[in-house]
Subunit: 306 residues, 2 copies
């Protein structure tokens, strides 16, 4: 047996078989059946060693968990139910490669099981650094997108901000380290929100930057009251916690816009924070206890900035 | 505008909009409608700088073409019609990054247009080397897989062997260089074959290795007559052309097993070479003009071999 097929076998072992999978992993292609009346919702996201993680601070299990979690978070923001995923692995050759691959797959499989999302295919290649590129597939009757926000809608957050960025600091607290390494995709919350929200995005690049994307795609502006932002336990204790919440990124909270008449019903189903409102015009304005607050210089994460 | 969103805009520009795309690129998720009665066929494959290509021998357009081609070849082997794809880009930061991304997308878009396969989503991340990881989605009523070969089936090749490996030699001939940099996915041929073949695989890792995979999954053996193998123009002229054909890889020919009674009808529809037969038992045996020929030491490509 070759090293490549050994590694693939080791990697596949912890994953359960999925529903409606006609051809599963190990073939050139996977084949699945999408339910009648459902749209197929697809997203792809990568985590790369040296960019998103390093193996001194992340366990391989963390890497596997996070690689799948960031994709499930995108499905959650679309209000889609996770079904299947493909995993392309970039392997840095070393004596430990097999062991690292085994541990990545364990962390990934635990979350896959919990989310009932089945691994159906993948790829392995050598590379200069470890990377995990996942494409997740889900189903939704009416997927949420970024372009449906309307003036008057409430701006709502589900989940907490700032802890993941706090987790990148030296000697992070336990909840901060956990938020950075083991983000929880808000899948159930996204499915609930789908029936109420007009638009949604997950907070991956930073709250302000993701809000800006949503506003641009919807052709609207937004006013955010900073004192209403739901800071995480770790961010709340830091002097610059608000900056981390506004621009830190990787929180994987859900940012929703909700027509005001639907807000009371959504409140009964989800724990949420109302943090502002959608307005006519362009751009994002911040207030603090009603007074204007300047935008921070750093709005969020840019993968290609030097 | 950030560098990341600039690059995404530049990358997306040459791609046409696809059919049945409800939410397209630029959102967290794409959403598409799979036709009734069809199975969704999915595959993922990566090309990585320093492993699959280097930018002294490959133009960025070549890289974009090949990244999509190798995925379309997998869909072809499943007898699936290409519909949509997602593209995760690993960007090596440099002053030329924007220009390289633009050119990768041009090469990719030309093949996407030709194959009527629409880009619906993607991801951009910084990385130590350029890489393009594509997940391609297609539709098939009855996808072909590797596990349907039965003793008595004819072993059939569509396409040519050996030229892509010849293209890796110093000073390759023009057809060899082209086979390496611009492989042609046999999409139409795969769609035709789907109605006749019992199993299929594309020759990506090397003819013998891929044939072995097919035999293992089907629980059968195979006998191959080497003099019947369809060598490419470049491989035919090399003293070790047969070795390249047997173990070189990256040919993206289609290897089919076909029940003997269906072979005449398939012959009328496709140009093909009958190269051997499926037998009871395990493993692959070679013959040359009917006499046993030993298996080569190198059966194909292993991404993780040192």
């Amino acid at each position: 047996m070759s090293r490549e097929s050994d590694l693939i076998e080791v990697f596949l072992r912890p994953f359960p078989r999925g529903e409606r999978v006609r051809v599963g992993p190990g073939s050139d292609c996977a084949a699945v059946s999408v339910a009648a009346g459902m749209q197929l919702v697809a997203t792809t996201d990568a985590v790369v060693e040296g960019v998103h993680f390093d193996l001194r601070r992340f366990s391989p299990e963390d890497v596997g968990h996070k690689a799948l979690a960031v994709n499930l978070s995108d499905l959650a923001a679309a209000g889609a139910r996770p079904r299947w995923f493909l995993c392309a692995l970039g392997v840095r050759k070393s004596g430990h490669a097999m062991q690292i691959a085994r541990r990545i797959s364990r962390g990934m499989a635990a979350l896959a099981r919990e989310s009932r999302c089945a691994l159906i295919g993948g790829n392995v290649t050598a590379a200069a650094e470890w990377s995990v590129t996942i494409t997740a597939l889900g189903e939704a009757r009416r997927p949420l997108a970024r372009d449906g926000a309307r003036p008057g809608d409430a701006l709502v957050l589900v989940g907490l901000l700032g802890d993941a960025a706090a987790g990148l600091r030296p000697y992070p607290s336990r909840p901060a380290a956990r938020a950075q390494r083991r983000p929880v995709p808000l899948v159930r919350e996204g499915l609930v929100a789908a029936a109420f929200a007009s638009a949604a995005i997950d907070v991956s690049d930073g709250f302000l930057q993701d809000l800006q994307h949503l506003c641009e795609e919807s052709g609207v502006g937004a006013v955010v009251e900073c004192s209403s932002l739901p800071l995480g336990n770790a961010a709340r204790r830091l002097p610059d916690g608000m900056e981390l919440a506004l621009g830190g990124g990787e929180d994987y909270a859900l940012l929703l816009t909700v027509p005001r008449r639907k807000l009371p019903a959504l409140r009964r189903k989800l724990r949420l924070a109302e943090v502002g409102r959608i307005v006519r015009g362009r751009g994002v304005q911040l207030t603090e206890l009603g007074q204007p607050r300047p935008l921070p210089r750093r709005m969020g994460f840019d993968h290609l900035k030097k």
